[in-house]
């Protein structure tokens, strides 16, 4: 049984594309309370004894199952820190959908700091999708400071899609990953800031085992007077390959600081970084306008495509 009001349902739709109760395992958290939970034969969700969060345990060999763990805040003034630990069994293949939506119509700040730790077993394959969204016209800020730690065993792979497109006033996200031999990490981050928002995104990826690979790609758009800092570091401690890329569109009076960095501690570490910041190209706007779009519609299409 899931108990959600209309605002909470709308937030869930935004962050998890969920229009109804998902099949498979789930844990819904609304205004710091458990709003619904389902477990399956292979996926168990257990509240931590101290009430600080949940453990999600996925049995070895679990295939084609999903876990949804959305969090919504619709009361002004809530400030919470939640620890979620994921134990993903060997050779499993699962999708994990997380995300947080805050609707703050009040005068006090609302803040959710989710600390997610992933322990990815040998040969396991995980797709992780995380969306952050804010709404509400109160003066209180909507703040999200997620920390993601990923510990990857041999030959495991993890694909992370992190998206924050709208309404979060302040975010400081930190992602740390430790990869053993043959592990593969792909991160796709999409970020858009507007108004006077401030977003910081930092990555520290340590390629510790032979044949480990990481690809960390961030695309972002800074509009109005918003500010962004992207700070991605890949460290190669073994024969490995790593790539990080930050590609940004800057608009209005936005400000972007991109600091991709690489550290090689092994002669066979192959590491590449790229960063580009620029405004929307005039010829892109003109091309779409020749198809009948107004300048504003053209801009939206370009941004939507860029953040896809």
């Amino acid at each position: 049984m899931v108990k959600l009001d209309a605002i909470q349902k709308r937030l869930i739709e935004e962050i998890a594309d969920l229009h109804s109760i998902p099949s498979g395992a789930y844990n819904f958290r609304a205004n710091s309370q458990l709003a619904g939970r389902n477990t399956t034969a292979n996926i168990d969700i257990i509240s931590k004894e101290d009430g600080s969060g949940i453990d999600i345990r996925i049995k070895p060999g679990t295939k084609n199952e999903s876990v949804h763990i959305p969090v919504v805040l619709s009361e002004s003034g809530i400030k919470e820190t939640v620890y979620n630990d994921f134990f993903i069994g060997e050779d499993s293949d699962v999708v994990i959908v997380a995300g947080c939506g805050i609707d703050n119509c009040g005068g006090q700040d609302s803040e959710h700091d989710g600390i997610h730790r992933f322990h990815v077993g040998r040969g396991a394959k995980v797709r992780y999708v995380e969306k952050h969204y804010g709404s509400g016209d109160g003066e209180g800020k909507r703040i999200l400071n997620p920390v993601t730690e990923v510990y990857m065993d041999e030959d495991s792979s993890m694909e992370m899609e992190m998206e924050q497109i709208k309404g979060v006033d302040s975010t400081d996200r930190q992602t740390i990953a430790e990869l053993k031999a043959g592990a593969k990490l792909v991160v796709k981050e999409r970020l858009m800031t507007h108004g006077s928002q401030n977003a910081v995104s930092g990555y520290q990826v340590n390629l510790n085992g032979a044949g480990s690979t990481a690809d960390v790609v961030s695309r972002s758009v800074a509009r109005d007077r918003s500010q962004q800092t992207f700070n991605a570091r890949i460290t190669g401690n073994a024969p490995c390959s790593g790539h990080t890329e930050c590609d940004s569109i800057i608009m209005d009076e936005g400000r972007i600081l991109a600091i991709p960095s690489l550290e090689a501690n092994d002669v066979d570490a192959m590491l590449v970084h790229e960063a580009a910041i620029g405004k929307i190209a005039g010829d892109q706007l003109i091309k779409l306008m020749t198809l009948g779009l107004t300048e504003q519609q053209a801009e939206e299409q370009i941004i939507n495509g860029f953040l896809r």
């Binding site: 695309r219 892109q284 091309k287 020749t290 198809l291 009948g292 300048e295 495509g305 860029f306």
Partner: protein, 270 residues
């Protein structure tokens, strides 16, 4: 029908006024396939951009189907039925081929409809429909996708700015086939192509020669081409303004290689 009346375009460069187009007058009737040719820098692309509204004229008028569109912006002209293919197609990160075709069509095309447009331009549709229009596509591929977007628009007037620029010979063969097909199916719409290619000039209803911002020739291919080719044959060595590049061994692309603009107009080629 497109009417251009007393159209001039000038730019300021380092404080010096430079006139690119001088007092052009031109009418393109419905159902016509018109190729505009001329040396580099003669103002061909500028004229094409003026028709689409990408540039604004210094003076003069542009009428489309009797309506004065001179003051209209690009989207307004697009909606009236003018479309434009860029000489160097624009790349977009994240926008896929099918997205662009849908935007061009102005409606939600099915995958098979989108594929039809790609097949028309000789692309194996399934391989391209989900590709991003980014630097992973070659110049020839981009060019054909650009043409496909015009096909998807079905407009009354299509303007192509040097469609042959930057494509390989194999793509060129296909390009000619596409234009021959468009020529056959033109009905009441009209097509304007900026080109140096004899193969494209050959299939035109009308050829317009633009030299140093002036119309210096305008007529049917049989009226215009022989004079251009004859002059290029070295009869007036040093004075001819174009030459034909014979590269039949390599394929069928035959660009007219323009020499420096003639000091005087070539209106007499008519």
């Amino acid at each position: 029908m497109l009417e251009i009346k007393n159209l001039s375009f000038a730019v300021e460069e380092d404080g010096v006024r430079k006139e690119i187009l001088h007092d052009l007058n031109l009418t393109i009737e419905d159902g016509r396939f018109v190729v505009i040719t001329g040396p580099n820098g003669s103002g061909k692309s500028t004229l094409a951009r003026l028709i689409m509204g990408i540039e604004k004229p210094t003076s003069g008028q542009i009428l489309f189907d009797g309506q004065d569109v001179t003051a209209l912006d690009i989207p307004s002209r697009a909606k009236l039925g003018i479309s434009f293919a860029f000489q160097q197609p624009v790349r977009f990160k994240g926008i896929r081929v099918k997205d662009l075709l849908r935007l061009a069509a102005g409606k939600n095309l099915s995958v098979s409809q989108a594929c039809d447009y790609l097949s028309e331009v000789g692309l194996c549709a399934r391989d391209y429909i989900d590709r991003e229009i980014n630097s992973s596509l070659s110049g020839g591929e981009l060019k054909r996708i650009e043409i496909a977007t015009l096909l998807a628009r079905h407009t009354r007037l299509s303007v192509f700015d040097e469609p042959e620029a930057g494509i390989d010979l194999w793509s060129f063969q296909n390009l000619i086939r596409i234009f021959e097909k468009m020529r056959r199916e033109i009905q009441d719409s009209s097509i304007v192509i900026i080109s140096h290619q004899e193969r494209i000039l050959d299939i035109a209803d009308e050829i317009l020669v633009l030299t140093a911002g002036l119309i210096t020739g305008h007529g049917r291919p049989d009226e215009i081409l022989p004079a251009l080719m004859q002059q290029s044959g070295g009869i007036q060595a040093g004075q001819g303004f174009c030459e034909k590049l014979q590269n039949d061994d390599a394929g069928t692309a035959r660009p007219i290689r323009w020499k420096a603009s003639p000091a005087v107009g070539v209106a007499d080629v008519q």
